[in-house]
């Protein structure tokens, strides 16, 4: 089945790669997309998210843009006062002049895929698109078929990275219908540690599309703190897939924040593949206007003694729509697994909507698992209490909404990220200037 949109999107690929292994992945992905097409609402995982508005556009991928106005966009996209190594991608293309990789320690490889693919061919080819990631869905297939650039972060064994790596992906164009295809690879060696931030940012008034895939591999005893901040512009579309493979004793803290995009879909697939591997996941999504924000997570406990703890909160106002689907799979041999999942949603208007579904598939018998989902509105007794203390009704609503979101935000380790998110969250609420006081 080859539809016009599949043909158009696949035609965005560049010349055949001189790396035959990479071309092999591209070709396989190309075939897979040609055969299976893009997801439709008939598929269980895409039941609530209609991607046809992405597919009907004639996006041009990875178009270089003259750097006018880019400095102001980048200064909003960067995290203020955060000391970090940073890699900047503009419309999917690495920009060395805007990046800062001057102070890289030894024993790490950090840079762009397009530049490192030759010098670090062995390690990159060992990991990239392992286990045929492109078979997951049409967007991952498209991403693989178009692989061109993205970030590479490889930390050698026993090395603790000194500063976080901030990957900044901005879209910018005077015209509509540009798209970026981004493929990132993170490898954290045995007993190594790293913090990686991905920020997706774009202007509010252009229609653009981000299709991003990140693969992370954690070796024995490795530690990764990963932040994904989806702050696309309000006319931007975002589809992201994050795959994590964890060996024994490794630990992941993942923070997934979605506050931008007309339609933003984020998938997180974690495989706890070695005994004692553990993953802690915090998510926050906020939608207003007609935003559509969708999070799908799968945590696969494929080894014994693995632990996962997942907490997502959603705030939806106006006519916004939220989707949360969290799946926990415990394999037959994965005894002594502990897995907890919770999702709480706050609806701020009668027209806002959320569909939430936590799922457990348990094939082992000696496990501790729990899951729960709630959908609610602001608590009347709390509102009345605040108002009886002379707090204006709108401010009281904003305060309680902020407090709900803050419960996830305050789990983040970097005060600079906390500040940024607090400002963004408050900025979305009425009377934002007044509730700032409560936060400092």
């Amino acid at each position: 089945m080859t539809s016009a949109s599949v043909e158009h999107f696949l035609s965005q690929g560049t010349a055949v790669s001189s790396h035959s292994w990479l071309q092999g992945h591209r070709d396989a992905a190309n075939r897979s997309l040609t055969n299976s097409g893009f997801p439709t609402r008939k598929m269980e995982d895409w039941k609530y998210t209609d991607v046809s508005s992405i597919l009907e556009k004639n996006y041009t991928f990875n178009k270089s843009i003259p750097p006018e106005g880019i400095d102001s966009i980048l200064s909003s996209a960067r995290i203020a006062e955060l000391e970090c190594h940073d890699l900047v991608f503009i419309n999917g293309i690495f920009s060395r002049s805007h990046s800062n990789l001057d102070a890289l320690p030894e024993d790490v490889v950090i840079g762009s895929l397009s530049e490192l693919i030759t010098s670090h061919h062995d390690r990159i080819s060992h990991f990239l698109n392992r286990e045929n990631r492109h078979e997951k869905n049409g967007f991952v297939a498209l991403n693989t078929s178009l692989i061109e650039d993205g970030a590479v972060v490889i930390i050698d064994n026993n090395v603790a990275l000194d500063k976080p790596v901030n990957l900044v992906f901005v879209s910018t164009s005077d015209t509509d219908e540009v798209a970026q295809n981004i493929r990132n690879l993170i490898v954290v060696g045995t007993h190594a540690r790293a913090d990686v931030i991905e920020t997706y940012y774009g202007p509010d008034s252009t229609n653009y599309f981000t299709n991003t895939v990140t693969e992370a591999y954690l070796e024995d005893g490795a530690g990764l703190n990963h932040y994904k901040l989806t702050e696309e512009g309000l006319d931007g579309y975002h589809v992201g897939n994050f795959f994590v493979e964890q060996k024994q004793n490794s630990s992941l803290n993942a923070y997934q924040v979605s506050i931008g995009g007309k339609l933003a879909r984020s998938d997180l697939d974690i495989n706890l593949a070695g005994p004692n591997a553990e993953a802690t996941i915090y998510g926050l999504y906020m939608g207003e206007g007609k935003q559509h924000i969708d999070h799908h997570t799968t945590v696969n406990h494929s080894s014994p003694n693995t632990r996962s703890n997942e907490t997502y909160r959603g705030v939806l106002g106006d006519k916004a729509r939220g989707v949360f689907n969290g799946k926990i799979i415990v394999a037959k041999d994965a005894q002594k697994t502990e897995a907890h999942l919770s999702n709480a949603n706050l609806l701020l208007s009668s027209e806002a909507e959320v569909d939430t579904k936590p799922e457990l598939e348990i094939y082992a018998d000696d496990v501790k698992c729990s899951h729960g989902a709630t959908i609610g509105r602001l608590d009347d007794t709390m509102l009345f209490y605040l108002r009886s203390r002379a707090i204006d009704e709108e401010i009281a609503r904003s305060l309680l909404t902020f407090a709900f979101a803050e419960d996830v935000i305050d789990k983040i380790h970097y005060p600079q990220i906390i500040n940024r998110l607090q400002k963004k969250v408050i900025g979305k609420l009425p009377d934002s200037s007044l509730i700032k006081d409560f936060v400092s």
Partner: protein, 251 residues
Amino acid sequence: MLSIKNLHVKVDNKKILNGLDLEVNAGEVHAIMGPNGSGKSTLANVLAGRDGYEVVDGSVEYKGKDLLALSPEERACEGVFLAFQYPVEIPGVNNVYLLKAGINAIRKHRGQPELDAVEFLSLVKEKMKVVHMKEDLLNRAVNEGFSGGEKKRNEIFQMAVLEPALAILDETDSGLDIDALKIVANGVNNLMNEDRAIVLVTHYQRLLDYIVPHRVHVLSGGRILKSGDKQLALELEKRGYDWVIEEASAA
């Protein structure tokens, strides 16, 4: 200061207050006593402006204004304060910031300049001493994880900082140990002057040993059945409410 006339109130279509009359003048302390479920908290909530209470008849005048026409925050700005029977826990909202925002909203309403951080802090320090409030409670989320007694004390602390003209204390004395009871009484007596009034809802005469009321009222079946001076409280303590109810139905 407060004039309630023939107040009829429904909650969830159920009639709770049935023609309640009450006059409170500035400079007075009134105690309201009455059996469980008689409508005391309903009255307190209606005065503070809680949603869900339908006033089907009657009027409430406060300082010459129609109190029922005001939103809860406007009432607070005008000097009405309710100490809740069950103070609400509000995770994520800081206790002391709530107070700062509250007092500055009230000051703004009165045309006074807002307090800056230093002025506010010295006010808070002063009032903490009055109610023996522990410092670590200040910077916690509002009432979150507070013990029952600490919650009640926090209500009195808020009252002391906000300095309302009309304070309604809904069973603030319930669940307090004897020392805390004295502290609450101390907070109330500290606040009182000839421009202010206090309505105390209580089940126990013992609070009235420390705060001497000008009037004591018996509320039952949604009406004030009997009013008297503090002797009435002593009599109720001895004899219960039945005789008041019988007396009223005989009349």
